[in-house]
Point group: C2
Chain length 217, copies 2
């Protein structure tokens, strides 16, 4: 039986592919796993039925028989550990790939989330305009470090891994702001990740949800 | 050969046990692993020798023979996967424990980091005082959800796991602010975690570093 993931019925980014279900779709595509999607409205996410699967009322979740998981990082790791294609065979290389998963979500995405929070929850505050450059500089600080580490490497550590999948997903959130393009090697890295057929299929699948729901809405 | 971790030579929290090396010390203690510590000054953290181990210039790192890891979450997971004591045997329970590791670091710690950033990097800004309650409310929102999920359970999902280790570490960062004590079951949960002999040994080890360096400084 195919696993079931949850995704937004109404994509908050209007099909730009930035919501976290795309990370899970991408991991399933990289490992060649079929999956089903259960779409949730914003109100359904807050209801007890979903809270039983996801105590924080977020997306995505992952159901596979008796197992229910949440947190896109944990789901991607579970998929990567259950199927070949996203983690190296060598134990040390595997541990390093997992290090990059955590680095993507905790060290690089942390200031990106601050930027998103500032835009969505504090854009009406008197400090909004003056504070934005501070957050952008904190993001640039991390990207400088990542850029210096990467040089002209194709992927973070040897072959493409779940670490690259999450890092590229985080970087893609910065493209519209223009910050990603300030770092040529990181912009090229994100574009390489995006060009992968598995990413393209994941992106197309989320876009199809948006398109079908916006035409009737 | 014992693994080597890095820790602050001068504890930024003056031995309160909130820096991330404590999470790694705790995991090593829970699994009964001896370890060595290399202390780093703030300036040494920014130097090329450390950047080769940790591209973002942070702590802790973990060296074990040829393997070098960073990101406390990744290091704790590596320790938990290499030794018994921090992850259940059952595959599904194991995946759920890992879900809680990611939930602790990404969903619960994210607003906690915002609070720390606001205090350390923006305390001199004109918006500092007015903005603080907004961040505190975002933390309360997450703790409400976690508190509702936990009820009077002893640990997050069955036996104590690496998920509890990280979640309790995140919650302990909130004790001084008073926010943790607003949630009686979470305060009791953090206190239970803190009372574990392995935590006590990890805490004492970091405190000894602070004490020995402050008496000579």
């Amino acid at each position: 039986m195919s696993p079931i993931i949850t995704a937004f019925e109404q994509s908050p980014d209007r099909g730009k592919g930035l919501s976290r279900d795309v990370r899970v779709r991408w991991a399933l595509e990289e490992t060649g796993q079929p999956y089903e999607v259960r779409l949730l409205s914003f109100s359904a996410m807050k209801e007890p039925a979903h809270r039983k699967l996801q105590p924080f009322g977020q997306l995505p979740t992952y159901e596979e028989g008796d197992l229910t998981l949440f947190e896109s990082g944990a789901i991607v790791l579970h998929i990567a550990e259950s199927h070949a294609g996203l983690l190296p065979e060598d134990a040390n290389a595997r541990a390093r790939a997992i290090t990059w998963m955590f680095a993507a979500l905790n060290t690089v995405e942390a200031p990106v989330l601050e930027l998103i929070t500032a835009r969505f929850l504090e854009s009406d505050k008197p400090w909004s305009k003056e504070r934005l450059p501070l957050i952008q500089d904190r993001i640039r600080h991390r990207l400088h470090q990542l850029s210096a580490y990467m040089g002209d490497a194709e992927w973070l550590d040897g072959a493409f891994s779940a670490g690259d999948l999450l890092m590229a997903s985080v970087l893609l959130r910065l493209r519209l702001s223009g910050i990603l393009d300030e770092f040529a090697n990181l912009a090229a890295y994100a574009a390489r990740a995006e060009a992968r057929p598995a990413y393209q299929r994941a992106f197309a699948a989320q876009l199809a949800v948006f398109t079908s729901h916006s035409s009737t809405g």
